[in-house]
């Protein structure tokens, strides 16, 4: 397999891992975000929390695996994005650290203040990552100021406040509305009575908010400055981001969509998925599957628009990281592809088994019965 094909496969795998993370961990982030709104009494809160109790830990591994896969396959991207977005990453990590302890410790004491405190940490632990991931995607389109010296040491002028610009915040809201919808669709599927009723009530609002915000973001992207590589194509050259020329493009970020109109499917899937989820909310399983399409379409649309860019430098466009010059060596990409081909089907198989074992709604009766062992 050529180096060029391997890089393309790993670009697709990067997208697939991000989509899997947004689909799987997305609904439990969304559930945590909706906790104060859909569940009022302690038992209702526990019902909502216990819908994700047995599965959130496995879901979160998609995030860990995403980090590991970026490290292994795109080390320059791993180094640049995580050190460049330093304080934003710290916020995400701090929020994600709260989740394991929040889930595990909340119901270990009966004290109401204790439980209310953990409910808030779970809410923050759901909201902050959802928002920051969206903000990060927004900054991918705008570019961030960075470069490399001759030793390929990364340096940047990025600050937390420069990341929190209007377009990026809009993308953050797209992400929050998307994961709220997904979380509501999950609760609609996995609960009954009042929690289910309230979650179902959230779905139209979340879906409409997503559709509007996504459309505004798309319109805004149309007017953002895009870039293109003008130096001769070196798709199987060494991974050195300083060997190319990048200039501002007049075609905009939708140029790839013009060349390959089939790519329009991605944003259409996102929009139709959101509408279908809310229209089908009385058939919860179908609605949940529809809402799972939303992150898939959204992330695929963003990735296809940016291709071949991974991380755009606004101050030094030539130093931008692309699919062709930010990857690992050919051997590492081959080894890692082998590992993915072997282990991903196994992961999917046992994850599917766990969901099958844990199928069916969580009810207030179950919580009262298993009060000591449930979350």
């Amino acid at each position: 397999m050529s180096y060029e094909i391997l890089r393309l496969i790993w670009w697709a795998l990067l997208g697939i891992l991000l989509i899997a993370f947004a689909m799987m961990d997305g609904f439990d982030l969304g559930t945590a975000m909706l906790l104060p709104f859909v569940a009022r009494s302690d038992v209702e809160r526990r019902v909502a929390i216990n819908t994700v109790g047995p599965v959130w830990e496995g879901n979160q591994v998609w995030f860990i695996l995403g980090g590991g896969a970026i490290f292994a396959a795109w080390p320059a991207l791993y180094a640049a994005s995580f050190s460049g977005f330093y304080l934003a990453m710290f916020l995400v990590l701090a929020a994600l650290i709260l989740r394991p302890v929040g889930f595990k410790y909340r119901s270990k004491l009966a004290n109401l203040l204790w439980r209310a405190t953990w409910d808030w940490t779970l809410f923050v632990g759901g909201l902050v990552p959802s928002l920051v991931f969206g903000v990060a995607f927004g900054n991918l389109f705008e570019g961030v100021p960075f470069g490399f010296d001759a030793d390929l040491r990364f340096h940047s002028e990025i600050t937390l406040f420069s990341l929190l610009n209007p377009f990026a915040l809009l993308c953050g809201l797209v992400s929050v509305s998307m994961l709220s919808l997904h979380g509501a669709a999950w609760l609609n599927l996995k609960t009954d009575a009042a929690v289910q009723r309230r979650a179902r009530g959230v779905m139209p609002f979340a879906a409409i908010a997503f559709v509007l915000l996504f459309a505004v973001a798309g319109f805004w992207v149309w007017h953002l400055q895009a870039f293109q590589i003008t130096s001769p194509a070196m798709h199987d050259g060494p991974s050195n981001p300083l060997a190319k020329i990048v200039v501002a493009s007049t075609d905009g970020w939708f140029a790839n969509f013009g060349v390959h109109p089939i790519l329009w499917l991605a944003p259409c899937i996102a929009l139709l998925g959101a509408l279908a989820a809310t229209l089908l909310r009385r058939t919860p399983l179908l609605a949940f599957l529809a809402s799972a399409l939303v992150p898939a379409g959204t992330i695929a649309a963003a990735g296809c628009a940016l291709f071949p860019f991974l991380l755009l430098s606004s101050s030094n466009p030539g130093a931008s990281l692309t699919v062709w010059d930010a990857s690992s060596s050919k051997l590492t990409l081959e080894i890692m592809l082998g590992a993915v081909v072997i282990f991903l089907p196994i992961i999917i198989a046992y994850t599917a088994w766990v969901y099958r074992v844990m199928r069916g709604p969580v009810t207030a009766d179950q919580i009262v019965r298993d009060s000591k062992t449930a979350y």
Binding site: L65, G67, F82, P100, V101, K104, F154, P238, F343
Partner: protein
């Protein structure tokens, strides 16, 4: 403090915090598997109650392990960006495979372990428990393959076109002898931690005269598993010493505070006060032959002392500078074949030239004095290593003694009759954590000034972010982790006091 010191402090703090939770997870997961196997084989429900009780404590600890582990996966990128860029081609792969092969297994089956007692058959639940234990242990394997490569960077080569280390032989990375020895040593240490935990808390119950049936059975399991693990830690710790002796001679010399090369076989210093400035060890008490036998597995091979290793480093700096000059030439004329040949011949010493970057950017013009200083900078902190190592080894022998007594008493069914033993077991509770943390200090602090032994100096590996950012995150993590640790300990103590009846009774 500058960004290098802040970043090192943050990594040390977050890694040491993380490793407060990991060894207990490693050990207790296997103990849960053993107890549940007994339950499935005998059908006696007391064994299921034991699994559920120890499982609650396991869960409280596991949550903290996961929470502090998230930081570790991303900290290389946030704080060690140049490190990630320079060695990510090699180092990233084991971390990613850890996620694919191990952490997914562990994190998926822990859900079934806690939530699916009523939904699975006995055998199915047992499979879930063992899958959890297997995932936990495989996770340690891949992390230690990554860490082993930092100690002994085999199977990789510097590529001037990408300015980084790249894999040439993945099998060598996988079957790195240092990684294999470290893996067995570390998981055995985890088993000892789990066994001491179960032993100590059971001893507490027996001292109080509570839950005697569960406590005695738990102690028997912990004693049998613990004695095997404690022997394995010491024997395979010795194997670690041997493999380190092959590659990290400076680390061995520093652990032994051995300034001069002795005639073979070298003696082992039991006690002494190492003096960094005077380059001598005061009040040394030595046992002849022992070090030479451990480090070289022979009576006639020498163990080199610190002073000779510094002289060797000085020659490697000159050799490394030839490689560095070649890189500068290749940058001007990328097709210069003779420069590439020079680089290839000297690239194993390139890291030694990079040590000079601490003193000046244009290291090709380094003075002789700067080269001497760089060579001297290869000496790690001798007193810290000397004492960390000795306390760790002493604790290792204490665990063997403790488990041997426990095993003997358990065989004679006298576990609850000897209060001094029960007190010794209870008071030993914090010791495996102390030993494990000291072990990491020996391994990582002993590798300084390298982040990748002989390849990349630690101070070059940091990110170019603002020092104030790192100070902020360091303080944030320490406060955050300390608060969560307090909650964790509070809950553990509370659930230990409540005892098994609370968890399984009704």
């Amino acid at each position: 403090m500058d960004i290098v010191e802040l970043s090192r402090l943050q990594f040390a703090a977050t890694a040491l915090y993380h490793f407060l939770f990991v060894p207990l997870t490693l050990g207790l997961s296997v103990l849960l598997g053993i107890m549940e196997t007994v339950y499935v084989m005998t059908g006696r429900t007391i064994w299921r109650d034991m699994v559920r009780f120890w499982g609650v404590l396991f869960g409280i600890n596991f949550a903290m392990g996961v929470a502090t582990g998230i930081t570790m996966e991303f900290q290389f990128g946030t704080n060690w960006a140049y490190y990630s860029q320079y060695v990510g081609d090699v180092f990233g792969a084991p971390l990613a495979i850890e996620g694919l092969m191990a952490f997914f297994l562990e994190a998926t089956f822990i859900g079934l372990f806690f939530f699916a007692w009523d939904r699975l058959s006995k055998i199915q639940h047992l499979v879930a428990t063992w899958a959890l234990a297997l995932g936990t242990n495989l996770s340690a394997l891949w992390i230690l393959i990554a860490n082993g490569w930092m100690q002994y960077p085999v199977g990789a080569r510097f590529n001037v076109d990408t300015m980084r280390m790249e894999v040439t032989d993945f099998m060598a990375v996988l079957f790195n002898p240092v990684a294999q020895a470290k893996f067995v040593h570390t998981v055995s240490a985890g088993y000892v931690t789990g066994s001491v935990f179960v032993l100590a808390i059971s001893a507490y119950y027996l001292l109080r005269g509570r839950h005697a049936e569960i406590a005695k059975r738990s102690m028997t399991v912990a004693a049998s598993f613990g004695i095997a693990s404690a022997l394995s830690v010491v024997v395979l710790g010795d194997e670690s010493g041997y493999t380190a002796g092959v590659n990290q001679k400076m680390k061995i010399a520093a652990i032994e505070a051995m300034w001069d090369t002795e005639p073979a076989p070298a003696s082992f210093t039991v006690f002494g006060l190492p003096d960094m400035a005077g380059r001598k060890t005061d009040f040394a008490v030595r046992i002849p032959w022992v070090l030479g036998l451990i480090a070289t597995r022979s009576a006639d091979k020498q163990v080199p002392g610190i002073d000779d290793l510094v002289k060797l480093a000085r020659t490697r700096i000159d050799s490394g500078l030839l490689a560095y000059d070649a890189i500068l030439q290749i940058r001007k004329a990328p097709t210069d074949a003779s420069a590439r040949a020079v680089l290839y011949a000297h690239s194993a010493d390139l890291g030694y030239a990079l040590l000079l970057k601490r003193y000046r950017g244009d290291i090709e013009n380094a003075t002789s004095d700067e080269k001497d200083r760089a060579a001297n900078s290869t000496i790690p902190d001798v007193p810290v290593l000397f004492w960390s190592f000795r306390i760790m080894v002493g604790l290792g022998f204490w665990f063997i003694a403790l488990f041997a007594v426990a095993f003997w008493l358990s065989a004679r069914r006298e576990l609850n009759r000897h209060r001094p033993f029960l007190w010794a077991a209870l008071l030993s509770l914090p010791l495996p954590w102390l030993a494990a943390e000291l072990g990491w200090i020996v391994a990582e602090y002993g590798r300084q000034p390298w982040v990748i032994e002989d390849v990349l100096p630690t101070f070059l590996g940091v990110s170019s972010t603002a020092a104030s950012n790192v100070l902020f995150s360091l303080l944030g993590f320490v406060m955050f982790y300390s608060a969560l640790l307090a909650v964790d300990l509070f809950l553990l103590v509370k659930y230990i006091r409540l005892g098994p009846d609370h968890v399984v009774g009704g």
